[in-house]
Amino acid sequence: MESLSKRAKVLEKKPMTLAERAYLPAIFQGLTITMRHFFRAATKKQVTVRYPDETRPFSPVFRGLHVLKRDEQGRERCTACGLCAVACPAEAITMVAGERKKGEENLYREEKYAVSYEINMLRCIFCGLCEEACPKAAVYLQADKMAPPRFERDEFIYGKDRLVEPVTPDNRSKRGIQLTPEQAEKLRTQLQTA
């Protein structure tokens, strides 16, 4: 049959030579190869990352665990418009909207806010479309945090308690809006009085 690619090589099965049958030359060839690796491991930098001691750096565009940001005064930015839930291809986001009461102005930025906001991390595909859809710059996928493994399924449904950015002003994610030291100080006093 005519070969289509003309790349097939015809291999002749020759009887082994004495050197091949004696094994020893091949064995020494193998031994030199492994010895080369031995000295490389002993001298050059090893490729192994010793995980708990050192971690591989995340890519700057890595999309990890979500965070619901606060604004400069520490108020929640989310207005529960639902655009992220609509954008989500995995239908991982659900929320319940509520109206801001009087005296809650320091907690929520607009009149409407999310009473509950849940992301199912088992459904989420970490595509980042919610981040793109958000008109209030409220939801972000952090570049330095992953959704950790859990034992129970319901522990993967992250509510506001785990999503909203911590109010301590120093404990902020790397992306999104950062507070200046003055703003952080202001927020701290506000939180103490509230």
């Binding site: 690796h37 031995f38 491991a41 002993a42 090893q46």
Partner: protein
């Protein structure tokens, strides 16, 4: 032998026993580190500096594991198997001459457990007995895979012992003695250019080392253990420290095999220019002859251990380089290649001795 000398000799026996155990312990660590380095990995480095406490952690793990007896197993023999493997492995290190004589006034301490004139025969006897440890353990487990593994181990050891013994005969033809101490001393004579046995017996050495690999059940001849066909081989049913004893016995066997090869073929505790060094110490440094000899003895001891560690490293190097043989290939290599080669080596040696080329 006087009483204090006997006491010293007892101490030497204890030290040899302890050193055998220590080397076997750290062989497990060395094996893992060498394997890691040969495979571009890091190896154990968690327990202690450079993972040096890893053998300790392993021992604690083995001791705290469940002591399991399979149903229908012969309990007495099940315990006796690993004990026998361990005891025979340890006993064979007793006759290895680790060093020459240390002279302290009247007492002369031989750095050797016991000196017997059939030393080499004794080592062979102990190695042969070691098969019983594997065989009894495999049989007592009441498990067909264990039994198959044990039978494989036994037939492999018996097959390669023949070639090993025949390779050895060529050495014994030159030495004319079975005493390991005598064989060592013959490999270096004061005042004349003298070669170690490796120069006179290169073929015999190759046969011997191949057989040593098979005798210690190391890759490429580690057929007694195989996950795919026999689950774990003869120690399938073993757990806890009984399993540990089998693994340990293997490392002690590697140590003894390395020591025997160093003694038989690489001059034992001799090292090049030792007599010149001794004479230099006496003439230029003004030391007494006894002190100079003691220094040479200690240097020789260090040298022998360097040779032994070199062989142990070689054992591990080969293990992490070569794939294993198939069982029929193993048997064919043993019976149709190594044994005829060993017999040819005997005839060659005999001819060379007859015509006075070597002595």
């Amino acid at each position: 032998m006087t009483l204090p000398a006997l006491g010293w000799q007892g101490l030497v026996v204890l030290v040899v026993f302890g050193v055998s155990l220590l080397i076997a312990t750290y062989s497990t660590y060395a094996e893992r580190v060498i394997a890691a380095f040969l495979q571009d990995r890091v190896g154990p480095d968690r327990a202690g500096p450079f993972g040096l406490l890893q053998p300790l952690a392993d021992a604690v793990k083995l001791f705290t594991k469940e002591e399991f007896f399979p149903a229908g197993a012969n309990r007495a023999l099940f315990v006796f198997g690993p004990c026998l493997a361990m005891v025979t492995a340890l006993m064979s290190s007793a006759v290895i001459p680790f060093g020459n004589v240390l002279q302290f006034g009247e007492t002369a301490i031989h750095l050797q457990g016991i000196e017997i004139n059939v030393g080499m025969l004794y080592v062979f006897g102990m190695v042969s007995l070691g098969v019983y440890g594997i065989m009894i353990g495999g049989w007592a487990s009441n498990n067909k895979f264990s039994l198959l593994g044990a039978i494989r181990a036994a037939s492999q050891n018996i097959s390669y012992e023949i070639a090993m013994g025949l390779a050895l005969i060529a050495v014994l033809m030159m030495s004319g003695t079975l005493s390991l101490r005598e064989i060592t001393l013959q490999q270096s004579v004061a005042g004349e250019w003298h070669f170690w046995n490796i120069a006179k017996q290169p073929l015999g050495f190759v046969i011997f080392i191949v057989c040593a690999f098979a005798e210690t059940n190391r890759t490429p001849f580690d057929l007694p253990e195989c996950e795919t066909e026999l689950i774990g081989g003869y120690h399938t049913e073993y757990s806890s420290m009984k399993m540990g004893l089998y693994l340990f016995a293997e490392y002690i066997n590697v140590f003894v095999a390395s020591a025997v090869m160093s003694v038989l073929y690489f001059g034992g505790f001799n090292f090049p220019f030792q007599y010149e060094l001794r004479d230099w110490l006496v003439s230029s440094q003004g030391l007494e002859l006894v002190t100079a000899s003691n220094i040479i003895t200690i240097l020789g001891l260090v040298g022998l251990f360097a040779k032994i560690f070199g062989f142990i490293f070689f054992f591990m190097w080969v293990r992490w380089t070569l794939p294993r043989f198939r069982y029929d290939q193993l048997m064919r290599l043993g019976w149709t290649i190594l044994i005829p080669l060993a017999i040819f080596n005997i005839m060659l040696t005999g001819g060379l001795i007859t015509f006075g080329v070597i002595k």
